[in-house]
């Protein structure tokens, strides 16, 4: 049948689509993308050693904690967070988190950008001037 050319063309197009990640990274990719960027800690954060909870817990669950904080503050008006180890904190992104992690670009954005996560924190919150 003379449809063979059409079928092969279709197959080639399909393969181009399926192989998208390979040629995209080859042409447009940033080199060394298989090593993740490290979140940078400020001096103050390094001194504190621990965040409000254990580092491992914060790494995995920080978004849920922030979500909880927002609801307890905005909906319930409770401005006190009791950590697992008994520490008391003001559940506030701008005042508590950003007090130590004042470097949004190096701390928040690096991993978020790498994982293509676009948190909507900043729809409402303002952040300290982003410095280059």
């Amino acid at each position: 049948m003379n449809d063979k050319n059409k079928i092969i063309t279709g197959l080639v197009i399909f393969f181009l689509v399926v192989l998208f990640p390979f040629w995209f990274n080859l042409i447009f990719g940033t080199p060394g993308a298989s090593t993740a960027p490290e979140a940078e800690l400020t001096e103050k954060a390094k001194e504190a050693e621990n965040c409000v909870e254990e580092t491992q817990y914060m790494r995995a669950e920080h978004m849920q904690l922030l979500d909880q904080w927002r609801d307890t503050v905005v909906r319930d008006g409770k401005r006190l967070y009791m950590a697992e180890d008994g520490g008391k904190y003001d559940p506030s992104l701008s005042n508590t988190c950003m007090d130590c992690h004042s470097n949004k670009v190096e701390f928040c954005d690096r991993c978020h950008n790498y994982a293509s996560v676009a948190p909507y924190c900043w729809d409402c919150h303002t952040y300290p001037e982003e410095t280059e």
Binding site: M1, D3, K4, I7, I8, G10, L11, F14, F15, V18, F20, P21, F22, F24, N25, L26, F28, G29, T30, A33, S34, T35, A36, R59, A60, E61, M63, Q64, L66, D67, C111, Y114, A115, S116, V117, A118, P119, Y120
Partner: protein
């Protein structure tokens, strides 16, 4: 009939356990994280091409479009251009509607007895709805996964994530497509299990891919919303795969991720040998992709052997003299 889906379910569960134990207990990270995914992808590419080329060689002896409307006829009879296409353009429109909107599922009817024991045909669109939900959410999920395989992440992936997560429920933000995919797959499964006529014609080859996809969806949702795997490490692994510099990131990744990856690998490798090949086959279905124009255009049957003919002109050439002698009229003097 229960055996058909029980076997498939058990197979999928066992496969999941193999991957989990293989990584968590035996430390086979490289096997399940690098070798099997690459192998599966190669099997997919080669198998897919092989199947399509094989199909492209098969003969189409007759023009057999299934039509559901008036074919092109006299000028004052209105042709149904989509359901009985005459030109290639009309065929393309018909194919696009079929592939993008599943039009033939939309026209599904169920035969039964209506009032007074008279036969009736009821319009049933559930399969069409479930199929649309399932296929499109699956497409969105697949495109969204490009965020793990590209750096920088292309705009259309981020854009899709924005739309998919527009409800801004919970954190991590709920992506609707993941749940829609699970719901769609479950509905397609429930349909096969509970409708007696469908259960009767369903084989393990029908259930296995469904259970596999349900397994993929469940492990995927678990990783995002419940057990919280380390996404950054996972992206290091997947970027290694996509840039052909595979490595297992330091610190290791939860076994749940490897179960997910193993399920996907098996599904991908299984595609060329399974009913999922309908993704390529739909383009090659002669009942859809041929124009209904056999009265105007001769469809050459490739099976026809060259027939030896002897036309009247040749006959006359051979016997002209004798014919003249006998007084038989000839066309050429």
């Amino acid at each position: 009939m229960n055996a058909a889906y029980l076997y498939s379910l058990v197979t999928v569960v066992v496969l999941g356990l193999i991957a989990y134990a293989g990584v968590e207990a035996a430390g086979l990270d490289v096997l399940f994280g690098v070798i099997i995914p690459y192998l599966a992808f190669i099997i997919f590419l080669v198998g897919f091409a092989n199947k399509i080329i094989d199909w492209s060689k098969s003969a189409v002896p007759f023009k057999i479009p299934t039509t559901m409307g008036q074919q092109k006829s006299l000028a004052w009879i209105k042709q149904n251009k989509i359901d009985s296409p005459y030109t290639t353009g009309q065929v393309v429109i018909r194919m696009l509607l079929e592939i993008l909107l599943f039009r033939s599922l939309f026209k599904n009817t169920r035969t039964g007895f209506g009032a007074g024991r008279r036969i009736s045909y009821k319009w049933v669109i559930w399969l069409w709805l479930f199929a649309l939900l399932f296929h499109y959410s699956f497409l969105v999920v697949v495109i969204r996964h490009l965020r793990f395989f590209t750096e920088p992440v292309p705009f259309f992936v981020s854009f899709l994530e924005r739309i998919d997560g527009m409800l801004q429920i919970l954190l991590p933000n709920i992506f609707l497509s993941g749940f829609a995919l699970l719901a769609g797959a479950l509905l397609l499964l429930v349909r096969r299990v509970f409708l007696p006529k469908l259960a009767y014609i369903s084989r393990p080859a029908d259930y296995f891919p469904l259970f596999l996809i349900i397994g993929i969806a469940v492990t995927g949702l678990m990783m995002r919303y419940l057990s919280k795997v380390d996404v950054i490490r996972i992206k290091e692994l997947t970027m290694g795969l996509a840039t052909l510099q595979p490595s297992i990131p330091e610190g290791g990744i939860s076994g749940l991720f490897y179960v997910h990856l193993f399920f996907v690998s098996i599904l991908v490798a299984y595609i060329p040998f399974s009913k999922i090949m309908h993704m390529g086959g739909i383009f090659l279905s002669p009942t859809r992709n041929l124009a209904n124009n056999s009265r105007a255009k001769r469809h050459e049957n490739p099976w026809n052997y060259p027939v030896k003919t002897h036309t009247y002109e040749e006959y006359e050439e051979d016997f002209r003299d004798k014919m003249k002698e006998a007084g038989i009229p000839v066309e050429k003097e």
